[in-house]
């Protein structure tokens, strides 16, 4: 028997080893738990804390019906049905239920999806309604789950499609008001920062959780009147179908506050099925995003410039020879001119004679030439006062500015400005023209155009927006004279078109379309720019454009009838008493 066993020295060695290991453990634990605490806490945070988004509800979009908001775009809760093939037990039961309840929303080959090996997530059906989701839930099937989502629904179908735009698959607004006021409509998503379990289910452990509620998007009320919009769309499509024109747009505005009452475009689409549209140009709102050469409509602004500066009056005369020479270039009237000799500018307006308005431009200068001063005056009126060739700032996505070349540019010479006097050599949008024209028919007040009338709060109450403050850029007398001139122009040429007892006026425009940078001989842009109401007050401005590839038509024949159609309906709809 060994002595060391008896003395217990071997057990002392074991005890010593044990103590040494215990001390080593304690030191190591101190190192991990105390010294490296921050490091491991950081690792833990990155692993355990998940940031979940609480989706904000997108704002609804309303139109007006008279003075009452009516919804054009609403939200609908939809569900995506998914399965975890690893925990699914009754494959045939799920297939049977999903196919019978979800129908077309179910994905094909569910059988294959449900038996996918090594998969924990398979989408079985999308865009299920609440009722469908409930019906599936009720079956108590194992291994399936739902994800809630939201989609836009359109109770008025395709009404005002280009003004509305749509919401894409990422939840971003595209085109129209959805794109233009995307941030406001979206609201602000809330944040749920939470410690979660490994399956991202939030836990209520610790003080690291943060909850920031979502701020729902603003409900926007458009100034679009659903009835006017609807009638306008009908009038446009009727006329285009009748004359076989491929493309057209109409804008109806209230000149007394700058609000857009209707904007119609053809061809059009249905926002609820935007993803089936193959030609993205259908999404464009041509009223704001297709600058064009406006043609003779611009003569009203040239005339207003001449009157406002005192260069001419409606009754001033000039000698119409059918041609004016500017810097060696002959400018002719359109074919069919019969008003030769000394004629008034009213006559030039009535028959849309180019020479008359080139003459106005000359009289802005020294009377013989379109001098730099004349060009500067025209530019000042067109660009600064009528806001042509620049963004109006309307709340819709995709507005383009167009262009007016200033006299300071080498291209801003007398020839260009002589062309600009009758509407060529500048690019503008219908919205710019209609807004500027509004200031000519409302007594000289320029309103920034708007398509938003107000908002609806969370309780459903309508709060109209504060009215726009107009800016007066031209004398009221100037505006009234031009208003009267266009009334005379309309009633002289289109006798008996309007309902009696009302006061309407307008100006036709026919220009060659520019195709690939050149004037096309086969494509025209036919426009009509007019107003209506009573002698005392203009109630509406309507601008019509009819155009398209291989379309030949005049403002008088193609566009004017649409104005007349809408105008004669509108006086009734707006309950304007005849005088």
């Amino acid at each position: 028997m060994k002595l060391e066993l008896i003395k217990g020295s071997r057990s002392r060695i074991l005890a010593g080893c044990l103590m040494a290991v215990a001390v080593l453990f304690a030191v190591r634990l101190f190192y991990i738990q105390i010294i490296q605490h921050d490091y491991y806490q950081q690792l833990a945070d990155s692993e355990q804390i998940k940031r979940l988004t609480i989706p904000a509800q997108r704002g609804m979009i309303y139109a007006l019906s008279g003075s009452q908001p009516v919804p054009l775009v609403m939200n609908e809760t939809v569900y995506t049905l998914f399965a975890d093939p690893a925990t699914v037990t009754d494959v045939q039961g799920i297939i049977k239920t999903v196919e019978s309840v979800a129908g077309g929303n179910a994905r094909p080959n569910l059988d294959k999806l449900l038996t996918t090996p090594n998969s924990r997530y398979q989408i079985l059906a999308t865009k299920l309604t609440t009722a469908q989701a409930e019906a599936i839930k009720k079956k108590g099937l194992e291994g399936i789950g739902f994800q809630q989502g939201s989609q836009r629904v359109y109770p008025e179908g395709g009404l005002a499609a280009q003004t509305l735009g749509f919401v894409d698959a990422n939840g971003d607004g595209q085109y129209g008001i959805e794109g233009g006021l995307d941030a406001e409509l979206k609201g602000k998503n809330g944040l749920l920062q939470s410690v979660t379990d490994i399956a991202s289910v939030p836990l209520t452990i610790g003080s690291r959780n943060v909850k920031q509620p979502a701020v729902n998007g603003k409900n926007v009320v458009l100034s679009i009147d659903r009835n006017i919009q609807s009638y306008t769309e009908g009038a446009l499509s009727r006329q285009l179908t009748k004359i076989g024109a491929p493309d057209g747009s109409v804008i109806v505005m209230n000149p007394q506050n700058g609000q857009v009452l209707a904007m119609a475009n053809w061809p059009t689409y249905d926002p609820s099925t935007f993803n089936t549209v193959t030609n993205p140009s259908y999404f464009n709102n041509s009223v704001i995003s297709s600058p064009y050469e406006p043609g003779s409509d611009i003569k009203t602004f040239t005339m207003a410039t001449g009157i406002d500066t005192g260069a001419v009056t409606p009754d001033s005369t000039y000698n119409n020879t059918g041609v004016v020479n500017i810097d060696g270039i002959d400018i002719h009237n359109a074919p069919g001119d019969t008003q030769f000799g000394n004629i008034t500018f009213q006559t030039a307006m009535n028959w849309s004679l180019n020479t008359g308005f080139v003459t106005v431009a000359e009289r802005l200068g020294d009377g013989q030439n379109i001098t730099l001063k004349a060009r500067q005056t025209m530019y000042d009126y067109f660009y600064n006062r009528f806001k042509l060739g620049q963004l109006t700032g309307i709340q819709l996505a995709g507005e383009l500015p167009g262009i007016i070349i200033p006299p300071s540019s080498p291209d801003g010479n007398a020839v260009r400005y002589s062309n600009m006097a009758f509407g060529q050599g500048l690019d503008v949008t219908m919205l710019q023209v209609a807004s500027a024209f509004s200031s000519l028919v409302n007594g000289g007040k320029y309103y920034k155009p708007t398509v938003v009338a107000g908002s609806v709060d969370e309780y459903g109450d309508y709060h109209p927006a504060a009215p726009e403050t107009p800016t007066t850029y031209i004398k009221p007398s100037t505006a009234n004279q031009v208003r009267d001139m266009t009334h005379v122009a309309r009633t002289t040429v289109f006798v008996g078109a309007d309902r009696p007892g009302y006061y309407m006026g307008g100006k036709t425009g026919t220009s060659q379309a520019i195709v690939n940078g050149r004037y096309s001989n086969t494509d025209t842009v036919a426009t009509y720019l007019g107003y209506g109401g009573t002698k005392n007050e203009t109630k509406y401005v309507i601008m019509v454009r009819v155009s398209g590839p291989h379309f030949m038509g005049s403002g008088a024949a193609a566009a004017m009838p649409i104005f007349t159609d809408i105008s004669n309906w509108l006086v009734r709809y707006l309950n304007i008493p005849p005088q």
Partner: protein, 424 residues
């Protein structure tokens, strides 16, 4: 130094039974209670995790209730091991070993025959599936059997003075140990259990007085064989590689994941922990949260103070076993206690060291704390046996008392166990 003692050793029968060391029970119960609290607080998360992951339907209290049942069964095993006179264990030590080996053989047979009773993961079958009764790990029976057998065998050799005989003593030990390791390490591919079994044998050899030279050789052979085992299995090699890479390995790489998340659990615990029931790592981040990783979860919930206390408890329990061993006169009983010390100690050290990143993961339970049936049952029974033996200790000499000063004994020199008890 050797004023007393030799004569006593030669007459073990002189030690009559006295009041056993109830402190052992106290430590066991405290540790069991801590484990139960831990499993009570993370059991619901664990049930939820499994329900989501594999579509099971565990109720939130399932694991706690099962643990309570396991604890109750373990306590029954403790009482049985404490009550059945040790002489029966020694008398039937060979039978116990055969039962252990037979159980392993049976499992292997079931594995070859693809019987449902063999519960296998990744090609290694370690458990009998007993249906509603749970599962049984035959390796634990084998450990117990081998322990008792070696105590009887080596004790007898020691009495005869043949302990350093290679042919009659060491070779038989090597054969029987090798056979056990064949089952555990090779067939069941359970390196953790194999290491703990090897530790039991080595501790028993140390305490049986085998010369240091031979022990050195045994250690050398064991090291070479162990390395061969690691290299022979890709998943073991991977664990070792993971261990060597340490924290620089990405958290996402599979094998490092558990080790890293164990340290995250501990590291977030700080001084006092997140509190009972506030474990986040147990919600699925740390695998085996209620089994092998329970120490890390305790570190998260109870902090540095808490787990240090757990270690102190384990050390105190182990020291207590060592103390009982020292005071046993019968060499067979001494070796029994040594084996239990090795068994318990190996589990604690291997488990904790792996959790704190000192050694690679071995997949071994933490005694009395981890969720689990067989392992807890047998290790508690083993402690129960030591409890029985603590009734046969001899504290007559001052010299022996002195040896325990280093072992954490709080009693003063020169007083008997009984004196100290009554005076405290």
């Amino acid at each position: 130094m050797s004023r007393f003692g030799i004569a006593r050793l030669d007459e073990p029968a002189a030690n009559r039974r006295h009041r056993p060391d109830y402190i052992l029970i106290v430590y066991v119960l405290i540790l069991m209670a801590l484990g139960a609290v831990t499993i009570f607080s993370v059991g619901p998360q664990h049930a939820n995790l499994l329900n989501n992951a594999i579509g099971s339907h565990y109720s939130s209290n399932y694991f706690f209730i099962k643990q309570i049942v396991s604890l109750a069964l373990s306590l029954v095993a403790f009482v049985l091991a404490a009550a059945v006179p040790y002489k029966y264990f020694l008398r039937y030590s060979g039978t116990l070993l055969v039962i252990g080996l037979a159980a392993c053989l049976l499992l292997f047979g079931a594995q070859l025959a693809h019987l449902g009773i063999a519960e296998c993961t990744l090609g290694a079958c370690r458990w009998f599936n007993l249906g509603p009764l749970g599962s049984l790990q035959p390796a634990e029976i084998l450990k117990f059997g081998l322990l008792v057998y070696l105590a009887a065998f080596l004790g007898a050799k020691l009495q005869k003075g043949d302990i350093n005989e290679v042919k009659t003593t060491l070779l038989p030990v090597a054969w029987v140990t090798g056979l056990a390791l064949l089952f555990i390490a090779v067939i069941q591919k359970d390196l953790g259990t194999a290491i703990s079994l090897a530790v039991i044998v080595v501790i028993m050899l140390i305490m049986s007085g085998v010369s240091w030279k031979i022990l050195g050789a045994v250690f050398g052979i064991g090291l070479v064989v162990g390395l061969l085992f690691i290299v022979s299995e890709p998943h073991r090699l991977q664990r070792v590689e993971t261990y060597i890479q340490g924290d620089s390995a990405s958290t996402n790489s599979g094998s490092n994941y558990q080790s890293q998340n164990a340290k995250i659990a501990l590291g977030t615990g700080w001084w006092l922990g997140l509190g009972v029931g506030n474990s986040i790592q147990a919600t699925g981040y740390l695998p085996e949260a209620i089994n092998d990783s329970v120490f890390a979860i305790m570190g998260e919930m109870f902090g540095f103070i808490g787990v240090t206390l757990v270690i102190v408890l384990f050390v105190a329990l182990l020291m207590r076993i060592l103390r009982v061993m020292d005071h046993l006169a019968d060499q067979r009983l001494k070796l029994l206690a040594a084996g239990v010390f090795g068994w318990f100690g190996a589990h604690v050290v291997l488990n904790v060291a792996a959790m704190i990143g000192l050694i690679p993961l071995t997949g071994i339970t933490l005694p009395l704390l981890s969720f689990g049936g067989t392992s807890m049952l047998f290790i508690t029974a083993a402690v129960g046996l030591v409890f029985q033996l603590s009734g046969y200790t001899n504290y007559a000499t001052n010299q022996k008392e002195e040896t325990h000063e280093d072992s954490g004994s709080r009693r003063g020199i020169g007083r008997t166990r009984y004196a100290s008890r009554r005076s405290s």
